[in-house]
């Protein structure tokens, strides 16, 4: 069937930052199909050079307003690795809680505010507030709980202040942790409601499959978020120190962002990658939710990343309850406010890797003997997904030609990109207005 199709989505909405989708089909032949990332590079790796080890985690937390806790923790791990700084077991447990808080924040934001409008046929969450008032209220309640949790552990909902090299400048109290646990337990009804809503509309998720490689952290003892080795569904594990052998960054003409590849032409990171690699370590309730959607490893439908995010929210709630119990059972070791661990500053190179909401994140710093950064490298999850988005589009578009209208194709492609929850860059946020 001969068909001409042009899709030109400039500045795709409901994703972080600016990306374009361009498709050109002439007489049924695919002439052009590109996922274009058009933002200027931000040079954070240059911004941190000559800055002190005490500042790097604060500066790099501003890379992203959604993953600021993850960037902070990855930055701290790189600095701690470079200077052999110890972190106590208690602080590691609290850091895991902070990551769960951020994962919940980000995933609820994405599934509830950004993906559900597609599945419910609305342009954004604002009209849903009128048509699905209770559902939107439920999503806001869950997001609010995640915000409170992040604030309690890290001092702020975003761009955290209490996370410092070697530990925390201030700890939550036992009472605050007990209250948080109670709120997390009470959130199960809301989680169930969101899972039921997503299940109801999940037939609207496109049934698309393209085999790819999935990469995430993996850990013997837990569903890996805070640390572990790098795991690929294709080629097994690799220590974090070898991250450059896994990421293999390269540039493409249509994008200002670097792409990555490992065993194949592209790979995917994020919730679906984590679930595919570490499914057995999900919490019991999270597995139940995954089962409701028939989500089992290895799942190659990128649209299922939305479901995997919901599964991870459930896991984060359940695992956080367990972490709080563990902290309380050990007895919370108190410390004075504005605590600063004793740190011996020294030269060295350190690498940090953490699973942030959109996937595996790497920070790599080299410090001189004064503790000033001389070289930095950050590889963010979204850049690792660009190549996979591109290859998905190249398989998906021919499958849709002759089957879907131009508008349906455009929406399906937008949903594909949004499923990856890309965080292209937190650029500027200014308003541009004309007054009456």
């Amino acid at each position: 069937m001969s068909e001409d199709i042009k899709v030109d989505v400039e500045y795709l909405t409901r994703v972080e930052g600016h990306g374009n989708i361009v498709v050109d089909v002439e007489d049924g032949d695919l002439k052009k199909c590109e996922w274009q990332v058009v933002e200027a590079p931000r040079y954070f790796e240059s911004l941190v050079v000559d800055r002190s080890w005490k500042e790097l985690h604060h500066i790099t937390s501003r890379i992203c307003g959604i993953c600021s806790i993850g960037h902070t923790l990855t930055s701290l791990k790189a600095t701690e690795d470079a200077m052999d700084i110890d972190v106590s077991e208690q602080d590691k447990l609290l850091r895991r809680l902070a990551l769960h808080g951020e994962n919940m924040q980000s995933h609820v934001l994405h599934v509830g505010y950004l993906a559900l409008p597609d599945l419910l046929g609305a342009p954004s969450v604002v009209p849903l507030a009128s048509t699905h008032t209770e559902e939107v209220k439920t999503v806001i309640r869950l997001h609010r709980l995640a915000n409170e949790m992040s604030s309690l552990i890290t001092g702020r909902t975003t761009h955290p202040q209490r996370l410092i090299p070697g530990g925390f400048s201030k700890l939550p109290t036992e009472k605050e942790l007990i209250d948080l646990k109670s709120k997390l337990k009470s959130s199960v009804d809301d989680l169930t409601a969101v899972a039921e809503l997503l299940k109801e509309v999940s037939p609207n998720l496109p049934d698309f499959t393209r085999e790819t490689e999935f990469i995430s952290l993996t850990h013997d003892d837990e569903y890996a978020l805070y640390g572990g080795d790098i795991k690929s569904t294709d080629v097994g594990t690799n220590p974090v120190d070898n991250y450059l052998d896994v990421t293999n960054e390269y540039i493409v003409p249509q994008s200002t962002a670097k792409y990555t590849k490992n065993n194949r032409e592209s790979y995917m990171v994020g919730a679906l990658a984590r679930l595919n690699n570490n499914y057995e370590q999900l919490s019991p309730m999270a597995k139940e939710v995954a089962d409701k959607f028939g989500l089992k490893p290895v799942n190659h439908n990128p649209y299922m990343n939305n479901v995997a995010q919901l599964v991870e929210v459930v896991h984060s709630v359940e695992d956080s309850i367990g972490l709080i119990d563990k902290i309380l059972d050990r007895g919370l070791e108190e410390q004075k406010e504005y605590h600063q661990p004793d740190i011996e500053v020294k030269a060295g190179r350190g690498i940090g890797a953490v699973e942030v909401p959109r996937g595996i994140l790497f920070h790599d710093y080299t410090y001189n003997e004064k503790g000033e950064c001389t070289e930095a490298n950050c590889i963010i999850p979204t850049n690792q997904n660009h190549g996979n988005i591109q290859h998905d589009m190249e398989k998906l578009v021919p499958e849709m030609v002759g089957q879907k209208s131009e508008d349906e194709m455009e929406l399906t492609l937008e949903m594909l990109v949004r499923a990856y929850d890309p965080c292209i860059s937190c650029s500027t946020h200014y308003l541009d207005v004309e007054f009456r």
Binding site: L12, T13, R14, V15, E16, A40, R42, Y43, F44, L47, I59, R62, C64, G65, I66, S68, L109, H110, Y113, L114, S124, V125, V126, A129, S130, T133, V136, K137, I140, H143, R144, N147, T157, T158, H159, C426, S427, T428, H429, Y430, L431, D432, V433, E434, F435, R436
Partner: protein
């Protein structure tokens, strides 16, 4: 006693875009009544939905592009805006959308005032335009006066 929030939005490492968070960081060093609360939400505009619900009155400080000279500022309310030419915000959300959502949820404060500072330089880094740096004391003085005015009504 009504709760008043002062909220700074923007990216501290994109030139003038960081003026909102910078002013919030500086103004909270001054002595204010305890019912006036300060929030630097940086790049996370969506956080507003949770902050607004607990406030009766809000002053949002943000870099804004409008007809005027760089460094000029203006206090305005949403209904004074005729059109929004372009909005760039976290996850494609934007300030006005989030306020609208808050209103639909019946959680929005009675009074929302935006202090817009005419900006120009959005380059990477923490250096702001000279016209903005020179006016920082003026902005702080006007924020202080506006807060006392909001607190007295």
């Amino acid at each position: 006693m009504k709760k008043i929030g002062v909220i700074g939005i923007g990216n501290l490492y994109r030139g003038d875009d960081g003026i909102g968070p910078k002013l919030v960081q500086e103004i909270q060093e001054k002595p204010f009544p305890s019912n006036i609360l300060f929030f630097d939400i940086g790049l996370k505009e969506i956080s507003l939905i949770h902050i607004l619900k607990d406030l009766d009155s809000v002053l949002i400080i943000d870099a804004v592009n409008f007809d005027g000279k760089v460094g000029e500022f203006r206090f305005f309310k949403i209904d004074e805006v005729d059109s929004i030419r372009e909005i760039s915000g976290s996850h494609g959300s934007n300030l006005f959308q989030i306020i609208e959502l808050s209103k639909k949820m019946e959680e929005a404060p009675d009074e929302i005032i935006i202090m817009g500072i005419k900006s120009e330089n959005m380059e990477l880094g923490d250096k702001m335009s000279d016209e903005i740096i020179e006016n920082i004391d003026l902005y702080l003085k006007n924020i202080e006066e506006k807060l006392y005015e909001m607190n007295s009504t």
